[in-house]
Symmetry: C2
Amino acid sequence: MTIQSVAIIGLGLLGGSIGRAVKEFAPTITTTGYDADPAVRETARTLGLVNTVCNSAGEAVSAADLVILCVPVGAMQAATQGFASDLRDDAIISDVGSSKQSVAQDLAAALPNHTIIPAHPVAGTEQSGPQAGFATLFQGRWCILTPPADVDPAAVDALSEFWRALGSRIEIMEPEHHDLVLAVTSHIPHLIAFTIVGTASDLEDVTRGEVIKYSAGGFRDFTRIAASDPVMWRDVFLHNKGAVLEMLGRFTEDLTALQRAIRSGDGDTLFELFDRTRSIRRRIIEEGQDDERPDFGRDH
Amino acid sequence: MTIQSVAIIGLGLLGGSIGRAVKEFAPTITTTGYDADPAVRETARTLGLVNTVCNSAGEAVSAADLVILCVPVGAMQAATQGFASDLRDDAIISDVGSSKQSVAQDLAAALPNHTIIPAHPVAGTEQSGPQAGFATLFQGRWCILTPPADVDPAAVDALSEFWRALGSRIEIMEPEHHDLVLAVTSHIPHLIAFTIVGTASDLEDVTRGEVIKYSAGGFRDFTRIAASDPVMWRDVFLHNKGAVLEMLGRFTEDLTALQRAIRSGDGDTLFELFDRTRSIRRRIIEEGQDDERPDFGRDH
């Protein structure tokens, strides 16, 4: 089983990047695409994100080996209603959502007779929309597949091969474990960033102009991920509630311990943590998961 | 009054960058330097960070118009003891520390008869040491001066002119206000980053390898600032305790409100915040305080 045609439902940052990546790295695969927003479809046509931008989801999926839903995780079920009756019987249905238990449930309920393999390419930027994508977004990044236990292994292999062609590295995981891992590596960092940017903009004794002027002290890093798509992130927190609340509890416990150390002047506790966290950065760089240049390679 | 010679005490990221910046942008100013660590002095000589690397702080400051302390804020008082008796009577004493009330107190106590103008260039990277600096670190960044009320205005002008020559923009501020502003734009972001990186590395149900592999989901951003110098940051939290605890209280209140919104499924509250935080990012970019390229311009 090899993917020869893919339908991309949702042509934002992720959908558009998949289209561009197929064109660049797997040009023998034909691509169709659909977006519920007519303006996005028009932009996608102008940019040539896929071979054919269709005016209905049904038309986009009708000949596809693989359908990838690139919509917010709260919109999965509604999106499938637009094409469920047009799917080929042997089509593989996948997605790019950031929570996997909810997607597995929603897709299984909507398409009980199809091969469903939820997936999550751990890649993105703070930008969104059809013009934000690029072909190399997935190079060297991990794509996590969470296949149900009873799924055809050949379909998992075909989907893995597809993502490898786009530059990804593949990992297979239980959906529950995915949701826990991503809560700590992605969802809590985003929640914290949204929070501190909100806190800073609501202060009365520090002006917003001051927050912006002196953001190079560290704050500006947080504003990048706090500029991410608000609908996508609202849906992530609502659909991965359990793991997010669990990890948030651990984070606030640790923060409270540091607060106590600061209040009591316990420099040793602070130093011990700050010294230890450096090694994590080194490993991320060694494993090719971040730019090794200082300050992410920002212009100076 | 114009600065013609500057002594740099402490030749790490900041001290080394000042030396390099003077050489490139204000080459008529002569520079001397000293670091308590003989290995750092040796590296500074090899790299030519200043015109003369001296073997004592006293020798470094003896002819200087301006002495800049580039040491952790907890080491200010001890560092001045090494050169207090060698200072010229008319020398200006300044620093680059991240907390200004504590520095003002420490320097005034150690050098009661000198012109002291605490300063804080809001610039840096996550790297440290004499090899980490570069001449353009201060270009377009703000340098905050917190002169005491009774200081000679000509000295403030001379110090401002010095920093402008290195590419900085100047702001004058009360030390109390500086400490509050920087708590939110720098100290709390660092504290949060150190905390979440620590939380992630201590988990039992998610391995450290997984945290590293999937760090591109947002976590890797936090690891950058959590790789910053541990002694410097320990001292910042111990010396700006009041403002840090005040701002931390506001952050945790806001985080608790979001936690409640997630638990109760209140998507509107989440969306409203996430939508609002985008505008802060736009203003930071418009005001030249961050790289406008997606993902900070990281390699993709």
